[in-house]
Structure formats: structure tokens, C-alpha cells
């Protein structure tokens, strides 16, 4: 699907940030995800929803370059030339993962260095890209801690002294400090109390809008999807069964499985 066919407006971005074609991943006989294709445009937030085992996390791992799919291609346009993320060198892929994109893990322990201070955690990506001015690194770390609503006085504390919600916010600051174009989030509010979730969701919503981030968010929580995403992909047994605008999919679901999902929640 190209936008030019239906809407040749030059004011819109000229090319998708991510073009996913035919991505499939199998575990022996079992399907992880099968033949997934879509475009993601700069500033768009895509939700992937489905039950546990529907293949959404497998897909995310393939898209983020953590796992290699058995078939398919993912093109990422960070510069003038699109990069095929599976055929570029591991070095280039690692560089991308530290700069132009970021991954927010469900468990903050997977995304943070637990024995490094909050400031060091946030500053690492800056030092990765070659920043060597302690004062400036610290200043930016402080700025980011405040943006994710962590008091500046906690900059020299280690993540293990933080609550779960704070750890998750710290992880987000650690990823966003390098101003990525694309962020992958795996159940970013999973495992948090409802009130803590609400705060985090609002923070993510504001950051995504203010930074013009493109994001792919895996969640089983339709309320999270409603609040954060522009578009939705519904997965079942490794296949995308329905996709479209988030409110279309949730308010007027066409596929039997989506109808089941949306009727199973109290109110979204």
C-alpha cells in the first residue's frame, strides 16, 4: 500500500521509515509469525495486539533485529539509503540499535544496568556515540530524568533503589536520550500497578507526540493500545488477522477474533 496512489500530498513524508515485507519466523513445525507486511511512517505509533502466544513478541524481536526471521525483509530508512536490517553487518545493526532506534523491555532489568547509577544509565548512549564531556553528559541526563519525572536528586542512585514504575521510566529515558527515530516497546506497562501504568502511559503519549517518534508497541491491553497507538495489528496464531486505524479496529472489528477480543474487555 502506497500513499501516493490515494493521496499524492507532498506535505506528507515521502517514504516510510520502516517497510516490512513477508516476515516469517518458525520454530520447527510451530509458527512464530507468518508473512507479516506493513509500512510504518515517521511519527506513527503502531500497536500489535493479541493474546499470549499469538506471535506478537516474536514479531517484535524480528522487527527490532534481535532475532532473524526465516523469511522476509525489513527496510529501515534512517539516512538517504534504506538499510535492509538483516543484510547489514552486525556492527551496523548494533550501531543502529544504540542510536536510531531503541527497545523498551517489559522488564526494566533487561534494559537497564542495575549496578550503574541513573545518570550513567541515561548517559551511556551519549558516551557510546563519542560524547566525552562529563558536565554536558550529566546535564543531558538530568534533563531526561526530569522529563520522565524522576527527581534530579536521584541521578546518582542505582536502579535497584527505584520502584518498578521509576525503573521503567528510567529505561525510557535511557533509550530516548539518543533521540531515536523508532522505538520498540514490549508490554511497557506490564507488571505495573494500575495507577503507575496511567502515569507511564500519559508520559509515553506526551513524549511520542513531542518527539515525533515512530513506535511499535506490543501489548495485550486494548486500553493501552487505544491510548497510545494510531494503528493496530491484531495477531492470532502467528498471523495478522486484521489491521487498520486503532479506533476502526476496536470500534468496528471485522474479524471474528478481533470481535472476540474487543467484547472480552469491559470498556475501552
Amino acid at each position: 500500500m502506497t500513499v501516493h496512489a490515494s493521496f499524492p500530498d507532498a506535505a506528507l513524508e515521502p517514504a516510510p521509515l520502516l517497510t516490512v515485507s513477508g516476515v516469517s519466523r518458525f520454530y520447527g513445525e510451530r509458527i512464530g509469525c507468518a508473512d507479516v507486511s506493513f509500512d510504518l511512517w515517521p511519527g506513527e505509533v503502531l500497536g500489535i495486539v493479541g493474546e499470549s502466544g499469538s506471535g506478537k513478541s516474536t514479531l517484535l524481536r524480528c522487527l527490532a533485529g534481535i532475532d532473524k526471521p526465516d523469511a522476509g525483509e525489513v527496510l529501515f530508512r534512517a539516512g538517504p539509503e534504506p538499510l535492509d536490517i538483516y543484510s547489514v553487518s552486525e556492527q551496523e545493526r548494533r550501531r543502529l540499535m544504540r542510536t536510531a532506534w531503541g527497545i523498551v523491555h517489559q522488564n526494566p532489568r533487561d534494559g537497564l544496568r542495575m549496578d550503574v547509577t541513573a545518570g550513567g544509565n541515561v548517559g551511556e548512549r551519549l558516551m557510546d556515540r563519542g560524547d566525552r564531556h562529563y558536565g554536558k553528559i550529566r546535564e543531558r541526563a538530568l534533563d531526561w530524568l526530569q522529563r520522565v519525572e524522576i527527581a534530579g536528586s536521584r541521578i546518582d542512585d542505582r536502579p535497584r533503589q527505584f520502584s518498578g514504575g521509576m525503573q521503567q521510566r528510567l529505561q525510557i529515558a535511557r533509550v530516548l536520550v539518543s533521540e531515536p527515530r523508532l522505538v520498540f516497546m514490549d508490554e511497557p506497562t506490564g507488571g505495573l500497578d494500575v495507577s503507575v501504568q496511567a502515569r507511564l502511559l500519559d508520559l509515553l503519549r506526551v513524549l511520542v507526540r513531542d518527539l515525533g517518534l515512530a513506535a511499535i508497541i506490543v501489548t495485550h491491553d486494548l486500553a493501552v493500545a487505544r491510548l497510545l497507538t494510531d494503528r493496530l495489528m491484531v495477531m492470532k496464531d502467528g498471523h495478522v488477522v486484521e489491521q487498520g486505524l486503532t479506533d476502526q479496529v476496536l470500534d468496528d472489528p471485522h474479524h471474528a477474533y478481533t470481535q472476540l477480543l474487543t467484547s472480552a474487555v469491559l470498556s475501552v
Binding site: L12, L245, D251, L260
Partner: protein, 232 residues
């Protein structure tokens, strides 16, 4: 006159897969247009599908067939076949939806909710705040509530926040679903004024108004949708 909405041969049937594949036909062969500067009021008995039609115009419900051309940035775009990001762009710049219910976003203050569409369209922080405050004042929302999140507001207060958000910068097309349902007479008058002002300024209005008095003051034209009902 500029045609803002052109509905062509739209049909809609709901299929309930989890209830034995029950098919619920709603419309067949819907055709009409809406011009800039007019207020089209949808008429028909309760359950005739007025709200569904409004949602189809907004791109929220997907018609089974047909096209809906929305005049967006000077040219017609079919919202039915447009890709998601085009639909979002149409909604951001051209198409506003005013419902009776405010979707409360946790922790966001009433003032920020009203400022949001102005900021999204590129207004400065200062200008957005000034216009948002003026709108909340006009809708008689007490100033002490401005910086609170509306989760704890009464139904009428939430509704006024929602109306303020919608009319602080009226879209070229406004789709309005029962905006005055739980408002007192004074605030109802304000809403009627806001709609008339938007229309006079050139917006195309399509609305559903349960209150007959409101309906008569707002409408420049009626469309009875009963004729579009599909015989089941």
C-alpha cells in the same frame, strides 16, 4: 458553495462472527452531499443508525461498500479507502468529531485537553493557553477546575471540556453527536451559539440533536435517514 462531504453509494452491514455469523444490515445506497456553511441535521427514529452514519463519515466505522469524499486541503479524498495516516491527517486538519462523552486521559488537565488541538495545528503555547481559557470561560467551567484532570468532574463538566476542545479551533467539517444531552439551559445556549458561529465562519456541520428546540435553532437542512434503511 464548496462541497465538503460527498457520500456515494455507501452501504453498511455488521457481521457478528461470534453470534453465529448474524448479519445486521444498516444502510444501503446512501447518497448525499454537505456544503461548507450549512448545518445538516440527521433525522430519524431512535435506532435508525444516525450515530453509525456519523461514525462512518468520521472513518471510525468502515462501510461495506461505497465512497465518502472529504474535501481535505482543497481536494477530495476518499476516507473509506485512504491509508490510516491519511485518515489521521484528515482528522487532524479537516474533520472534527464532537461526542457526548469525553474520553478521559489520565492526569491531563482540562486546560491541556482544550489546548491540545491548537498545539497539534501549530499554535504557540501562549496563544493556545489564551484561547483555551477563553473557551472554558465561555462554557462556564469554574477556573478552579482548569488545572485538574477531568476524571473526577461531573458528566456535564466533562461534556463542556469536550465541547471546548472541539470548538476552540473549529474544523472545516464538524460531526456532532448529541452535544447538549446533559447540559443546563444556559450552557445549551452557548453550544448552539458555538455551532452557529462555526457554521457562519464556513464550517460544514453534520449533527444529531435529540433536543427539538436545539435542532431547530441549529439546522439549515434536514436529512431523514430512514429512507436509507436496508430492508432486513
Amino acid at each position: 458553495m464548496t462541497t465538503m462531504i460527498q457520500v456515494e453509494n455507501v452501504a453498511k452491514t455488521f457481521t457478528l462472527h461470534n453470534q453465529g455469523g448474524t448479519r445486521l444490515p444498516v444502510f444501503d445506497d446512501v447518497n448525499f452531499t454537505v456544503e461548507a456553511g450549512e448545518a445538516l441535521v440527521l433525522a430519524g427514529a431512535s435506532g435508525a443508525g444516525k450515530s453509525s452514519l456519523l461514525r462512518i463519515l468520521y472513518g471510525n466505522y468502515r462501510p461495506t461498500s461505497g465512497a465518502i469524499r472529504i474535501t481535505h486541503a482543497g481536494r477530495p479524498v476518499d476516507i473509506v479507502s485512504a491509508v490510516p495516516r491519511t485518515v489521521l491527517d484528515i482528522r487532524r486538519r479537516t474533520l472534527g468529531f464532537v461526542s457526548q462523552f469525553l474520553r478521559v486521559i489520565p492526569r491531563v488537565s482540562a486546560l491541556d485537553i482544550v489546548r491540545d488541538p491548537l498545539l497539534a495545528r501549530g499554535a504557540s503555547q501562549g496563544e493556545a493557553s489564551d484561547r483555551a481559557k477563553a473557551m472554558l470561560t465561555r462554557l462556564n467551567l469554574p477556573e478552579r477546575l482548569w488545572n485538574l484532570a477531568p476524571a473526577t468532574f461531573s458528566g456535564g463538566e466533562q461534556q463542556r471540556v469536550n465541547i471546548a476542545r472541539s470548538f476552540v479551533d473549529p474544523s472545516p467539517i464538524m460531526l456532532i453527536d448529541e452535544p447538549t444531552a446533559s447540559l443546563d439551559a444556559a450552557n445549551r445556549d452557548v453550544v448552539v451559539e458555538l455551532i452557529s458561529e462555526a457554521r457562519t465562519a464556513g464550517s460544514a456541520i453534520v449533527g444529531i440533536f435529540h433536543d427539538e428546540a436545539v435542532r431547530e435553532r441549529v439546522a439549515t437542512r434536514y436529512l431523514d435517514i430512514t429512507s436509507f434503511r436496508k430492508a432486513a
